[in-house]
């Protein structure tokens, strides 16, 4: 895949300085190998895990059953979209913790309007997206406009929205009166793969395109690298950050719709379950493909690595404590490895 300036990058980008005319000379084999390993570490780990659970006698049959594969791909669509929503502002260096709550808000809005309130489904869909956009606009205004700390503002918003949903729904799941296609749409397949998975694929491609192939996306990365310098090269930092929060909220709304559509109901408590896996996937993703940068395909690997591991362990008969232990451990290990590799790289380039 083409990732902007890094595309010209052959592996082994960060080698000791040489005069420009030696540009054609190849970096040493070991440093190339180290870089490739770093770039592809997470995807390789995913492949190894899949292979292990496929080959292992006690899990193989269940793990590779088409029902399980479909379930796995489909289940993670929401987590993946939530992770993408967090990725967009994070590219510019801003946390958005409100994403899972906004997804919950969209989920409830859609279910309430299309179900008990009796409006046509398209009204519910549009209203859910509108509510998400509104919340993104407010967050963007607080963070980009008033320069408040994004981490705190979105943490506050997350808590506030969760509380509001509890109040509004009385803690009850909304399921009555929804059209029939809600609940079944998500179980149908397209080209042999579940529809929600395709939604994720489309969302990922769109986010990847925006972040790496629109000037605005490159600007966001510039802001994330050095906000002051970005301002001084003429980038409209406030507008870009505001738009990033708006984009994030749109994706959160999409995730919310997927929650309702997949389950045929809306649970006000569904949002928080996505916070940790999505955030972990984004951070895991930054350790591969383009090490050190938050990136779309790394994030996707992160989502499915965590999901496959938890799924496989469940078939191995692991207790429920295993999955959080694995999630946490994987995150720390990934950061450890990528940080140590980054330092090694610095030493290589600094020693010249």
């Amino acid at each position: 895949m083409s990732l902007s300036t890094d595309q010209i990058t052959e592996p082994g980008a960060q080698t000791p300085l040489k005069p420009i005319k030696n540009r054609g000379s190849r970096p040493s084999l070991t440093s190339t190998a180290v870089n490739q390993l770093e770039r592809l570490g997470l995807p390789l780990m995913l492949v190894v895990l899949v292979a292990f659970f496929t080959i292992d006698g006690s899990t193989g049959e269940l793990f590779t059953s088409s029902a399980n594969v479909r379930q796995l791909l489909s289940n993670q669509a929401v987590t993946g979209i939530v992770a993408l929503a967090m990725l967009v502002p994070l590219t510019a260096g801003y946390f958005d913790l409100s994403v899972p709550a906004v997804a919950g808000l969209a989920s409830i809005t859609f279910a309430q309007l299309a179900g008990p309130a009796g409006y046509p489904a398209w009204v519910g869909l549009l209203a859910a997206l509108a509510v998400s956009l509104l919340s993104g606009a407010i967050t963007g205004w607080l963070v980009a406009g008033l320069r408040l700390n994004g981490f705190i503002v979105t943490l506050g918003l997350y808590t506030l929205i969760q509380g509001g949903l509890q109040y509004f729904t009385d803690g009850q799941t909304i399921s009555s009166g929804l059209p029939d296609w809600v609940g079944s749409w998500g179980f149908e397949t397209f080209l042999g793969l579940p529809r929600p998975f395709w939604v994720l694929v489309v969302a990922a491609v769109v986010v990847w395109y925006v972040l790496t192939h629109l000037p605005r996306g490159r600007e966001l990365e510039g802001i994330g690298s050095n906000e002051r310098a970005a301002h001084l090269v003429g980038i409209n930092v406030r507008k870009d950050v505001w738009l990033a929060f708006l984009g994030s909220a749109t994706l959160a709304g999409l995730a919310g719709l997927m929650i309702t559509i997949r389950s045929g109901s809306a649970d006000p408590a569904s949002g928080p379950a996505y916070l940790f896996p999505a955030l972990a996937a984004v951070f895991l993703g930054a350790t591969c493909i383009r090490p050190g940068r938050y990136n779309v395909w790394g994030t996707m690997c992160g989502v499915y690595l965590l999901a496959v591991a938890v799924n496989g362990f469940t078939f191995l008969g692991a207790d429920s404590w295993v999955s959080p232990v694995f999630n946490g451990g994987a995150l720390i290990l990934a950061v450890l490895v990528s940080t140590l590799m980054g330092r090694q790289r610095e030493r290589l380039s600094g020693s010249d």
């Binding site: 300036t5 980008a13 080698t15 300085l17 040489k18 005069p19 690298s225 310098a229 001084l232 940068r293």
Partner: protein, 504 residues
């Protein structure tokens, strides 16, 4: 009796320096940027080691220069108050005087605030500081803050006042009368045997407040004089160096051509009512101390700061600038001060850094064109003589000079009509400096106008066609080409001026 005697053998920073400091004197240490002042202070406080062969003696204790360490210096009574003071503005005076030293503990090992307060009160009394222990540091005036920093440095000496207090430009932000009040208290400590080393750029202050003055230049100790026996002109000559008078300038034909930039009555930051004009083909220098408003003036023109008042014209056309993008489309470029903070995208590739100001050029047929971006970057790398292995390596793997050339390439490829340069050769080696000015010179010769802010007067003397002296936000003097010498600029910038504006 105490006295110290130090010899640092030939490092590049300091060449065979002998220096003596008497007990109970206030001794000024002067020198330009890169003269070795900071190195000397850092060796004295044990942060750096000297090279083998040198010795440092404080009172009865003696140590080889290559074995000095912070612990030894501390025990020998060396205390440093740095320019930025190193205080915690959001904490109280009592907390500031306790952190690092330790708080008094109560029996159950929590902090005994009562005991802390007793100690701090006594301390404030001893140092005659008008503040109470519970005052937030940020609500104190800069002068009192400096006093608190000094009290913190000296607090554990008790009433003894023997030892060496080094004040490293800590009064740079103080108005003269406040600095005088501060010196009154330093005098009292000195009378009791405290030695004070006072590092300063402000020569008038040095002469009126200190007993003796030593001058460092290019790592050589020029000597030590009684302040009574030397005048300001002589001191400036010592700091700047005699031979610099003869810096040869290419006397550019003074092209009083059409104006490239015209600024009228601009008020921004400490700057007030500044008007000037830059002709095409001219490099206008701006000389001024930190806090004179020199950076704010450039940032105001570029739209990074919002001017309270004033008009800007580029090539005779009035322009309205609200943000940097407006200035850029009017043909203005700004190479900001402090590359790491304001210009470099440290973790991004060289090619991204070079193209940052023209990013949208590479969006063609619905996608970014990193290959053509890299191709252009490679061409610029060659043209600007940037030493880099590849354009996809992160810019922070390059040396400072090469990074700065990349920033220059970022802006000059836009063919700006007006180039604003704020300390363009900060942290850049001599070779790269010459390269940078050659590149700027080419653009200026081709019809652009440039404004150059530099605190190195030699640099201004070598490259500016005309210099404006900025003091306290106002233009104090205009020096025509023929009269620009480092000496003359130092005189205009340093001398006079009862009121110094405190700006951080």
């Amino acid at each position: 009796m105490r006295g110290l005697d130090k010899t640092f053998p030939g490092t590049t920073a300091l060449r065979n320096v002998d220096w003596e400091l008497r007990a109970g004197e206030i001794h000024a240490l002067c020198g330009g940027n890169g003269s070795g002042k900071s190195t000397l202070i850092k060796i004295l406080s044990g942060i750096y080691k000297g090279s083998a062969g040198g010795t440092i003696r404080i009172a009865d204790a003696e140590v080889a220069a290559d074995e000095i360490n912070p612990k030894w210096s501390h025990e020998a009574g060396v205390r440093v108050v740095h320019q930025d003071l190193g205080l915690f503005p959001d904490m109280t005076v009592a907390e500031n005087l306790s952190l690092g030293r330790g708080f008094e503990k109560s029996r159950i090992s929590g902090i005994s605030w009562r005991k802390v307060e007793v100690r701090v009160r006594e301390l404030l009394e001893r140092f005659e500081i008008e503040a109470s222990p519970a005052t937030l540091l940020s609500s104190l005036s800069p002068a009192v803050r400096t006093e608190v920093a000094i009290a913190r440095a000296l607090q554990d000496q008790g009433d003894q006042h023997r030892g060496t207090l080094i004040i490293d430009e800590a009064t740079a932000a103080l108005p003269l009368h406040e600095a005088q009040a501060l010196f009154a208290s330093l005098r009292r400590f000195a009378a009791r045997g405290q030695s004070v080393v006072f590092v300063s750029h402000r020569l008038d202050e040095v002469l009126s407040l200190c007993d003796r003055v030593s001058v460092l230049r290019d790592g050589d100790m020029q000597g030590t004089w009684d302040t009574a026996s030397i005048d300001e002109a002589a001191l400036i000559r010592l700091v700047v160096g005699k031979d610099l008078e003869q810096v040869r300038r290419d006397a550019r034909p003074s092209t009083q051509g059409p104006s490239a930039l015209k600024v009228s009555e601009m008020d921004v930051g400490p700057v007030s009512g500044v008007s000037f004009e830059v002709a095409r083909g001219e490099i206008l220098g701006i000389a001024g101390l930190l806090g004179s408003g020199r950076s704010e003036l450039l940032r105001g023109i570029f739209g990074d700061l919002e001017p309270r008042r004033g008009a800007v014209e580029v090539d005779g056309q009035p322009i309205r600038v609200r943000r940097p993008a407006d200035a850029m489309s009017a043909g203005i470029a700004l190479i900001p001060e402090d590359r790491a903070v304001a210009a470099a995208f440290a973790d991004q590739s060289l090619s991204m850094n070079i193209s940052a100001a023209v990013l949208r050029r590479y969006w063609r047929r619905l996608r970014m064109r990193p290959r053509s971006m890299a191709r252009d970057a490679r061409a610029l790398v060659g043209q600007f003589g940037i030493k880099a292995a590849r354009v996809d390596q992160a810019i922070d793997t390059l040396s400072g000079g090469n990074q700065q050339k990349a920033i220059l390439a970022r802006w000059l490829q836009r063919d700006p009509r007006v180039i604003l340069l704020d300390e363009p050769t900060q942290g850049v080696d001599v070779g790269a400096r010459a390269e940078i000015y050659r590149l700027i010179g080419e653009r200026v010769a081709a019809g652009a106008g440039a404004v150059l802010v530099a605190s190195d007067f030699e640099e201004l003397a070598s490259f500016a066609d005309r210099v404006l002296v900025l003091r306290d936000g106002c233009i104090q003097a205009e020096v025509p080409c023929a009269e620009i010498t480092p000496h003359r600029l130092s005189q205009l910038v340093y001398s006079g001026g009862e009121s110094h504006v405190a700006v951080h």
